[in-house]
Assembly symmetry: C2
Homo-oligomer: 336 residues x 2
């Protein structure tokens, strides 16, 4: 009835994302054994009560304010447990604060569940918090990943709106590298009703509509601002889509495939070494294996730019002392 | 891949319940064709965008601020679209206001989708808003129902907590009549790990725990206050459990059975005539058929008291002019 009865620890489970995720894990038949963790005791109990009142058959859901209790015996961890940006906080404050939280999660993972199968990080900036968790956890790189799908699903949805087609009719949408402003949109694989993006940009039509270069730029900008637009429209940041997509990532691991979107992957060497970033992945019993997608020269130049931006953020976290210098990562994590 | 591709209209889809419901309809594989309606245009678009960013395969989700557009062609309607109680509003204000909304929904249903298969009402007081919708819709009674499960799932969950057992180990929990304070808890069918409630009250133990009469009264009080407790703990009213359970009700209809909780049913005659209230139901292609459960003399006395309370609320709505006198219902709805 559920894909797994192994234990999933949901960190940040009192929040809108975390509580939605617990519901989604059960509603999709993915996992029935869930431990909800949050430091906010009242909200956590309320979120757990709501899940109990859903009456999911076969559910084994507990809640705790103890990280040790949450992680001991966990086979999977999904964490939305970052702090939101507050008034007066700079971007750097947020980066440092959330990376401190990621460091703590990595250390707790090392202490309480070193044999965890997969850790999915979804608090921002996820590429960097995911990397920080990885370094401190001591886990093999394939065991730690980040939610990276939303730029791609936003691109798919935005193109579907432009052409007035159903969302499924837009295929091959993928953004790589960092999330948000510095994401790299690879146009080469995109098609609408089977018509390649390049042909559309060259004047081909779908549903009586073409796509000018200006419109394509505008679509990409809309995708970059997709998260901000949710805040503007709803008065709060996205929570349903990150929750659902992180459950889908876990399903990808459990099914050993079938997850169609990029995921965060760590590259130990090569041109994109030393960061975690959105890439194509293969699911293996030993964890995710990332690969750099094929793309045009322009696509790859965008990806390189995104990589350089991620290196800069990483180096800020190193300068802040939350990550050691790269040469010392191996002392914390022998896999790196 | 989905139980139905017929169109589901979700009314109040910008809200926490409605937007969660759309996600749950898709995540559970229940329905892929969903029309989201809400008068709050910005929030509605934001909620729809979140659903798009979830990237559900095969989804056909649209949104509209037009009731006509939302209902035309709908096979199913689920409405959480009531107004919440605001500062300074009396209970009577809320009752009248939400029944006005229910009247409008009934009239719109009659105008735009008179062949709808099932209407599920989940805004409070649902027994009365459901009845008001039914009278004004012109639909057969079995086509309109209300969410009534949450008192029962709360009872199940509360007893599981008392005995320290998993929720599934508590069976036969059902509350009938009105929702909340005046609900009737039927103890006769309840068992914990197979041990009947009466035996537990008589001193039998499960997991080393018994249940005194005082504890049982306290459990029932906790259930009556289950919704208020969520507000206290989370700072907001329940939204995940009403959303999920109403999707489960639709699944019960689509599967023609398998939904284990009481549902709102209208009784045309007999001892409980002229109201809609939580009862046992059978799913038929022609809609739900309610039946009065067997119970002890005390259980049935509780149910009678709950019925009398519902009649009083109904009569307030008649006095307010939102429902005609009962003798005239047949002019609005020939099925009554």
């Amino acid at each position: 009835m559920y894909l797994t009865d192994k234990r999933v620890a949901v960190m940040g489970a009192a929040g809108a994302i975390g509580s939605n995720m617990v519901q989604d894990l059960l509603a999709t038949g993915t996992a029935n054994h869930v431990v909800m963790y949050d430091p906010f005791a009242a909200g956590l109990e309320g979120a757990a009560e709501e899940v109990y009142h859903c009456g999911f058959a076969g559910a084994r859901v507990t809640f705790t304010t103890s990280v040790e209790e949450a992680l001991t015996g966990a086979s999977f961890i999904i964490s939305s447990g970052g702090a939101p940006r507050k008034d007066g906080m700079t971007r750097e404050d947020l980066l440092r604060g959330n990376c401190e939280i990621a460091k703590g999660l990595g250390e707790s993972t090392k202490a309480y569940c070193p044999n965890v199968e997969l850790v999915i990080i979804i608090f921002n900036p996820a590429d960097i918090t995911g990397l920080t968790t990885l370094v401190h956890s001591g886990l093999a790189p394939g065991r730690v990943t980040t939610l990276a799908a939303l730029d791609s699903t936003r691109l798919q949805s935005r193109l579907a709106q432009h052409f007035g087609v159903v969302q499924d009719a837009v295929t091959g949408c993928a953004t790589y590298g960092g999330h948000g402003e510095k994401m790299a949109v690879f146009g080469g694989g995109i098609a609408v009703n089977g018509v390649a993006l390049n042909d559309l940009l060259g004047g081909a039509e779908v549903n009586g509509k073409s796509l000018t270069a200006e419109e394509w730029t505008s679509v990409q900008n809309d995708v970059r601002n997709g998260g901000a637009r949710i805040i503007k429209l709803r008065g709060r940041s996205s929570y349903q889509s990150p929750a659902h997509q992180s459950v889908e990532m876990l399903r990808g691991h459990l099914n050993q495939g079938g997850y169609p979107w990029p995921c965060g992957a760590y590259f130990a060497d090569g041109e994109y070494a030393g960061v975690m970033m959105a890439a194509d992945v293969t699911f293996t019993p030993d964890g995710l294996v990332g690969s750099i997608p094929n793309g045009s020269e322009a696509d790859l130049a965008d990806l390189k730019e995104s990589y350089i931006h991620l290196c800069k953020l990483r180096d800020e976290v190193i300068a802040a002392g939350v990550l050691p210098p790269r040469a010392e990562w191996g002392t914390l994590n022998p896999h790196l």
